[in-house]
């Protein structure tokens, strides 16, 4: 069994749209693949399970990029929960339609680093993630 400590930090994308996840995964892998492990989840519920799993395995969670409008748990609620468990994680919301109060709540209660609107600009997303990581250091 490999030492988890040797494993790279995890960058998690949450979106109910596979097409978004597919695009994001490749994009982020190319930008951060050498430094981070990129993981994806199709719902907030799945993401929370995954977070527990990763945490148990000793992985270091660094970044969460989450959609807002998803079946079941919405992005703001998920980020609040993730923040409760992993306060240091950089949290970014990437959504085509988010209620302002949800964004405000995420900023207030989940330490939201940034809200990005779909369709997103790849360079901007990478820059935002880098900026968030830098702020945490």
């Amino acid at each position: 069994m490999a030492n988890p400590a040797q494993e790279k930090g995890v960058l998690l994308c949450v979106d109910d749209e596979i097409i978004v996840l597919t695009a994001l995964k490749d994009q982020l892998r190319r930008a951060f693949g050498n430094d981070f492990h990129i993981d994806v989840a199709e719902s907030a519920e799945e993401a929370l399970e995954l977070l527990d799993e990763l945490s148990e395995q000793g992985h270091r969670l660094l970044v969460i990029v989450s959609d807002w409008l998803m079946p079941g748990m919405k992005g703001d609620e998920f980020l609040v929960e993730a923040h409760r468990r992993f306060p240091t994680v950089v949290k970014i919301m990437l959504s085509g339609q988010a209620q302002q109060e949800a964004v405000d709540r995420a900023k207030r209660e989940a330490g939201l680093h940034e809200f990005l609107a779909k369709p997103w600009n790849a360079a901007e997303l990478v820059e935002t993630i880098n900026q968030g990581l830098k702020d945490k250091l």
Partner: protein, 709 residues
């Protein structure tokens, strides 16, 4: 035989002969008189014949027949032949002259100068000329059936002719027969008059019937006026004609038609307190006004712009009364004086009565027509207002969707943009590094690399992220077991490359010194394929949304009955609402295979939209939306159920009413379900609702598969 005896005998014979001759003459006279009486009315020739007859019987150089009109108190000479040229054939009043005496006494008179003077002296008669101007005078009354018809007078101015008692008796005898003839004439005349009167009455009645038919056959006031004018012009001397109607406000009389000397005047209105208008006077006093007095007419305004060619000398005004109500006035006028006799007036009155009914009918019809037009207008306005509301409702529904749809489109566009960039970067990164890598691989490894890239490009089963993670985890474990470093990272790449199915085939590559580059470059090449697929998927999504929007925007366009797949329409609506459904709605579809249904697909889309929208709203997007599609006999049945708040019993019956809404003002027009019901009615279908408060509602729509019959 002595001479005297002979002479006496001769004289006797001559007398007898004479008597016989006279008897025969008398006989002939009586026969002729009788034959005269067959005439319908006495003409001059009849009187002349009488004169000739009497002349044969006696000296009758001067012969007068007079008739007596008791009613008028006049004695009229009907026939007069007289030597005295001062005698005038003129009617004179019954009075105290000798003719009047004959009539009064009803007996024949034989007068000479002495008797005449004696009668004057006793006051029996009065002599206008003082003395008798005749020598001998006979006056015999014409009496038949106790009635005095007149008298016959014969007189002599010559002393050579003196009438005898015998002449008087003869004249009396002849007169009795003449009287019978006169009586018969009179009777004949009366009968003829009565017949003529009767014929006239019958003609009048027929005419009035025709007029009535003509008048009441029309419902147009002006046409009625013209018809009345035409008929009157045929029957009466008429140079002006007018009809004035009481104004709707009831305060004035408005001439709706006025023609004088063939010129139609513009309509004039007279207030009911107008001081000189004869029409107003007629109306106010509710009585017929007949005027033959020029000065009275001069004061009366009739037309304003008609320049009278000649003064109006006769006029009749009559109120128009229908159903006991005065509705106007009709007038006929003439340049002739005394133009309107009794019969003309009778015709005028009767026709006016018909006209009143016709005009009242026309007014009722006009009012009904106006009301109908008003109702039609109101209906059109209401339809327009309703159409406007329906449109608003549609726009509101559409507006609510737009934000969601924008998101629906932004998501695939974001993916497309991102995948596009991935592809171009993969080309830049991987393909450029490819030649250098290939140089480091031997033939076998190159073949393995080629296989790796080929397999990566094969169509991949859609794995959920969870499933993929399981596969990655298993592969990680295997790689770790084989002693590979970065097992998790490599496992992730290998799964992306679909290489985990045949791990052995790639093991040589994994053990190669350039293993990391091999995996990166192969993954880069695979990225091109996966991202291209991703773009296709995203484009399909956008296309589907655009199609749904297009179907949506067709609402209200031309409706065409087509055989359509109900599931398709429902899916279109669900696509539009996908965004809202995602908020927390579980969507359950239970579609049975159905034949195509003959329907107005766009209108049905509106039905599904309303029902889906209401369902989502009822459960605030959280719960289960169940859409069922099944067949029941000849019907297609669509039911859309929610697990929302339900519809309280007390309002369940009203939900299909127009303008019924439970939404706050401004959020709903309350037309949604009204429109739904109308559309389903149009399809001869049925909609029912089953609902329980706190449990949910299910709307079930039944549509005949064959379409409307």
């Amino acid at each position: 035989m002595n001479d005297a005896g002979l002479a006496g005998r001769v004289a006797e014979l001559e007398r007898a002969l004479e008597e016989r001759r006279r008897g025969e003459e008398l006989q002939r006279a009586l026969y002729e008189i009788a034959s005269l009486s067959a005439a319908d009315r006495p003409e001059h020739e009849h009187y002349a014949r009488l004169h000739a007859i009497v002349g044969r019987l006696m000296y009758a150089k001067n012969f007068i027949i007079l008739t007596y009109d008791a009613e008028a108190g006049l004695i009229r000479p009907e026939y007069m032949v007289d030597e005295d040229e001062s005698m005038v054939s003129e009617a004179f009043p019954y009075g105290e002259g000798i003719s009047s005496m004959v009539i009064r006494t009803r007996k024949p008179w034989l007068l000479d100068d002495a008797l005449y003077c004696a009668l004057v002296d006793t006051g029996e008669i009065r002599a206008p000329r003082g003395l008798a101007d005749f020598h001998s005078w006979m006056g015999v009354p014409l009496v038949a059936q106790e009635k005095v018809y007149g008298l016959i007078v014969v007189q002599s101015y010559s002393s050579e002719v003196t009438y005898t008692q015998e002449d008087l008796e003869l004249l009396t005898f002849v007169a009795s027969h003449v009287a019978a003839a006169v009586a018969r004439w009179k009777a004949n005349e009366e009968l003829a008059n009565a017949n003529a009167e009767l014929a006239l009455s019958a003609e009048t009645l027929r005419l009035l019937g025709d007029i009535g038919k003509d008048l009441t056959g029309s419902l147009d006031a002006l046409a009625i006026c013209r018809t009345m004018e035409r008929h009157f012009a045929e029957l009466l001397p008429m140079d002006a004609f007018g009809v004035a109607m009481l104004s709707p406000a009831g305060d004035s009389l408005d001439y709706i038609h006025y023609v004088e000397d063939g010129v139609v005047d513009e309509s004039v209105s007279y207030p009911l307190d107008h001081p000189t208008s004869l029409a107003v006077l007629t109306f106010r006093e509710d009585r017929e006004l007949t005027l033959f007095n020029e000065t009275q007419l001069e004061n009366a305004p009739t037309g304003t712009n008609v320049a009278e060619s000649a003064p109006i000398l006769s006029a009749v005004f009559r109120p128009l009364i229908a159903n006991g109500r005065r509705i106007g006035v009709v007038t006929a006028q003439s340049h002739q004086a005394d133009a309107y006799d009794d019969r003309a007036l009778e015709v005028f009155r009767s026709a006016a009565a018909y006209a009143a009914i016709a005009l009242a009918n026309a007014a009722s019809y006009a009012a009904a027509e106006a009301a109908r037009r008003q109702a039609a207008q109101a209906l059109a306005e209401r339809n327009q207002a309703e159409a406007h509301l329906v449109h608003s409702e549609k726009m509101a529904a559409l507006g609510q969707l737009i934000a969601g749809v924008a998101h629906e489109i932004n998501t695939p566009i974001g993916a497309i943009k991102s995948s596009g960039r991935n592809i171009s970067e993969a080309i830049g990164g991987s393909l450029l590094a490819l030649p250098a890598l290939l140089e480091r691989l031997d033939e076998t490894d190159r073949a393995a690399f080629s296989d790796l890239v080929t397999r990566a490009s094969e169509p991949r089963p859609a794995l959920s992220t969870r499933e993929e993670r399981v596969v990655v985890r298993e592969l990680t474990a295997r790689l770790e077991a084989l002693g590979f470093a970065h097992a998790r990272h490599r496992a992730g790449l290998l799964v992306q490359l679909q290489a985990h199915h045949d791990l052995d085939a790639v093991l040589p590559l994994l053990r190669h010194e350039a293993a990391d580059e091999v995996l990166d470059i192969a993954h880069g090449i695979a990225t091109i394929t996966t991202n291209a697929d991703n773009i296709n998927t995203a484009v399909d999504r956008v296309a589907k949304i655009i199609f749904a929007l297009k179907s949506f925007s067709r609402f209200g366009g031309v409706q065409v009955w087509t055989a359509a797949d109900l599931a398709e329409g429902i899916e279109t609506v669900l696509t539009i609402y996908q965004n809202q459904i995602k908020h927390g709605t579980e969507l359950v579809r239970r579609y049975e295979d159905l034949p195509r249904v003959r329907c107005l697909p766009d209108e049905l889309n509106q039905v599904w939209t309303n029902l889906v929208h209401n369902a989502l709203q009822a459960m605030e997007n959280k719960g289960t939306l169940t859409v069922e599609l099944r067949r029941d006999g000849d019907d297609a049945v669509v039911s859309i159920g929610d697990t929302g708040c339900g519809i309280p019993e007390d309002i369940r019956a009203r939900i299909f009413d127009a303008f019924f809404t439970t939404k706050p003002a401004g959020e709903g027009t309350g037309l949604g379900l009204d429109i739904v019901r109308k559309i389903i009615d149009k399809h001869q279908g049925r909609i029912d609702v089953r609902s329980e408060v706190g449990v949910g509602s299910t709307f079930t729509v039944r549509l005949p598969i064959a379409g409307v019959s």
